[in-house]
């Protein structure tokens, strides 16, 4: 698989569909949260779609994904069934985590999706461990570890990057730098605000990528995956991106201005890719309308699946606290 991005009609429309799917899914989540169907914390991905969709193009079924509490985009782009995600946020047993995790904790064994994690930086050591195992058991497999620039402040960030490079582990560290760790701007949290430069301290190859451009992200991800699969050890991508919505559902965004948000919205990857495809007649009005209606139908079906779901029996509360044996 070359690391160049060959953009033809099909691939262009595929990227657009994947990003549009995430954007509309997140809008439905806001609606369901306000109607009190979804509870707890909810962290939405609007604006960062290019990162998840771009990175996933470089992966295949044998690869593993470790996510964060902002995991909707990662799960959808990785191919986790949309109905199981809505059911999970409804707390139904048909949810991808049996209704026990909610929005921050999507898991899917078949997709090697090792879950969202609500502890900032909590996923990094996990990804190092999964890669350690894959190096033995699944030759050529890559473990992608998503995290926000806030995690760079955690001790686990340093400890994980050092181990990965020290033991040449197949980890693709993807830092989604959206400029705010909840309410703390980047320059008030990091002495070095170019996060990718930190990888040099461990001699790990790193790139800074425009996280608002799915093609740029895909190209970088392909380069990284190729390097990792050939045994060169971990690779570090800092994707500069921006979240259009609040940190989570209950945030008055006192820490940033409306003007800044509008400024970044001008670089929204969705309309930019859509107009580029139309101008290069790789996308007709008809095809766009069909794509949108197919996505809306998928969302309607997913919500219906969740509505029809069951509550897990209370007698099962302590099931899986301990496992009888490790699933293969």
């Amino acid at each position: 698989m070359s690391d160049k991005v060959h953009l033809d009609r099909d691939h262009g429309q595929h990227l657009l569909r994947e990003m549009l799917r995430i954007r509309r899914f997140e809008a439905k989540c806001v609606e369901l949260y306000q109607a009190q169907k979804i509870r707890g914390f909810l962290h939405l991905y609007d604006g960062e779609e290019a990162v998840a969709v771009g990175v996933m193009q470089a992966l295949d079924a044998r690869d593993a994904v470790v996510s964060t509490y902002r995991d909707h985009g990662h799960a959808l782009a990785r191919g986790v069934d949309m109905g199981s995600l809505v059911a999970e946020m409804y707390g139904k047993v048909e949810g991808c985590s049996r209704g026990r995790g909610g929005s921050m904790h999507f898991f899917d064994r078949a997709k090697r999706f090792y879950g969202g994690n609500a502890i900032v930086g909590g996923g990094l050591p996990l990804a190092v461990g999964i890669a350690l195992a894959d190096k033995e058991l699944r030759a050529g497999a890559v473990t992608v570890c998503f995290f926000g620039e806030g995690a760079a402040g955690e001790g686990e960030f340093h400890e994980s990057l050092n181990l990965a490079e020290l033991w040449k582990l197949p980890v693709l560290f993807v830092c989604e730098n959206n400029l705010y760790a909840m309410g703390v701007p980047l320059e008030e949290a990091e002495a070095e605000t170019d996060i990718y430069r930190k990888a040099a301290a461990y001699r790990t190859p790193a790139e800074k990528v425009d996280g608002m451009d799915p093609i740029a992200v895909e190209a970088a991800a392909r380069r990284a995956a190729a390097s990792i699969r050939s045994g060169n050890g971990p690779y570090f991508l800092e994707c500069r991106t921006y979240r259009f919505r609040a940190h989570s559902m209950f945030d008055a965004q006192l820490y940033r201005t409306k003007e800044e948000v509008e400024l970044w919205k001008k670089r929204d990857p969705l309309p930019r890719l859509q107009t580029w495809l139309v101008e290069n007649n790789m996308l007709s009005e008809e095809e766009l309308r069909r794509m949108e209606s197919e996505i809306d139908a998928e969302i309607v079906a997913a919500v219906a699946f969740a509505e029809a779901g069951q509550w897990e029996a209370i007698e099962d509360l302590e099931r899986f606290v301990l496992m009888d044996e490790a699933p293969e």
Binding site: R39, G40, F41, G91, K92, S97, G99, R100, G101, G102, M104, H105, N117, A118, I119, V120, G121, G122, G150, A151, G153, E154, G155, A181, M182, G183, V184, P185, E188, A189, E190, D251, A252, L254, Y255, W311, E312, I314, L317, E318, V321
Partner: protein, 335 residues
């Protein structure tokens, strides 16, 4: 103004507002006091407790920190060692695990290990507990762990009055004091008696006197215990409800005096049963009050599983009022 007694009428506020006023009073009162933690400044506090303080006291006294619990808690300990009186906020006890080493091996140990040369006059505030469907990693109740550690004081303010005045007493204490604020209590409202301007941080309090059975509770378990007592009263069972307030050191005297009178005890504790604070209390009762007991001690704790997200499972995992009523009734009037 209350005309007859010439005192101000009782003030009604939320538990959250009481916490904010306590911090404001501390910052205004002592230049050596500052508050440090994730999103305490610009964001106004994850639970909006410190909203407006940055504007009033500036970024040196209201410090936002990076996501580095071990580092900024350790820094708080260092500042206390060197003469400051810091208040460190750990967003929730769930994230305090990353700072557990600093709290145990430095804060709780240095004064003893240095032969009394150094004190650590530090206050650490943490939100705690479950009940908002935040799933396992955001719903822990770890007060019991910290109450195991000699060298710490551990407080669990359940009333608006304690939320308002425990901080002042904690800041005046030369030892590291941990204050656990249950997330469900933040919205609770209560009255402040204007004649009360300070509270102790060493005793438990009888919140409802009774004769037939003692119910011990702390934090968000207190309202459940009081509701249980009302339900029991309708059934002719007179329950005494005690608010532990302080989990380390435990106020043995108040607990023993009550159980000696009622001879029956139910302990409500949101932690997991094994090795919990309720286990410690039950052990002390059977060691020192054995001959006063007329029925086995009962503990109502969270089910031993990670707290699930789904509402009905979370409710099933947590101690609830009907369980308290049933346990107390079985002790007094076994079927």
């Amino acid at each position: 103004m209350n005309a007859e007694k010439g005192t101000a009428a009782p003030l009604r506020m939320t538990y959250r507002e009481a916490c904010r006023q306590a911090i404001r009073e501390a910052l205004a009162g002592d230049p050596k006091t500052f508050i440090m933690g994730e999103d305490v400044g610009l964001y106004g506090g994850c639970y909006a407790v410190t909203k407006g303080l940055l504007e009033e006291f500036g970024p040196m006294r209201v410090r936002d920190t990076p996501l580095a619990e071990s580092a900024f808690v350790g820094a708080g300990i260092g500042a206390a060692l060197a003469g400051m009186r810091p208040i460190v906020e750990i967003m929730t006890c769930n994230f305090s695990l990353l700072a557990l080493d600093q709290i145990l091996n430095n804060a709780a140990t240095i004064s003893h290990m240095s032969g009394g040369q150094f004190a650590v006059p530090l206050v650490i505030r943490m939100a705690t507990g479950a009940g908002r469907q935040l799933a396992a990693q955001h719903s822990h109740s770890l007060e019991g762990w910290y109450a195991h550690i000699p060298g710490l004081k551990v407080l669990a303010p359940a009333t608006v009055e304690d939320a308002r005045y425990m901080l002042k007493a904690a800041l005046n204490d030369p030892n590291p004091v941990l204050i656990f604020e249950h997330i469900v209590l933040y919205n609770a409202e209560g009255e402040l008696d204007p004649s009360v301007t300070a509270v102790d941080i060493s005793t438990a309090k009888v919140r409802r006197p009774g004769r037939a059975v003692t119910i011990l509770a702390y934090g968000n378990s207190l309202p459940k215990a009081l509701q249980a007592a009302d339900e029991l009263a309708r059934d002719g069972i007179d329950a005494e409800v005690i608010d532990l307030r302080v989990l380390r050191p435990l106020d043995n005297a108040t607990i023993f005096q009550s159980v000696t009178k009622t001879r029956r005890c139910v302990i409500v504790d949101e932690g997991w049963k094994s090795g919990s604070i309720s286990a410690e209390i039950a052990a002390r009762l059977s060691e020192d009050l054995f001959f006063e007991l007329d029925a086995p001690i009962r503990r109502i704790c969270s089910r031993e599983a990670p707290i699930p997200y789904a509402a009905h499972l979370e409710a099933a995992a947590l101690p609830q009022m009907p369980h308290i009523v049933d346990a107390a009734r079985r002790l007094v009037r076994p079927a």
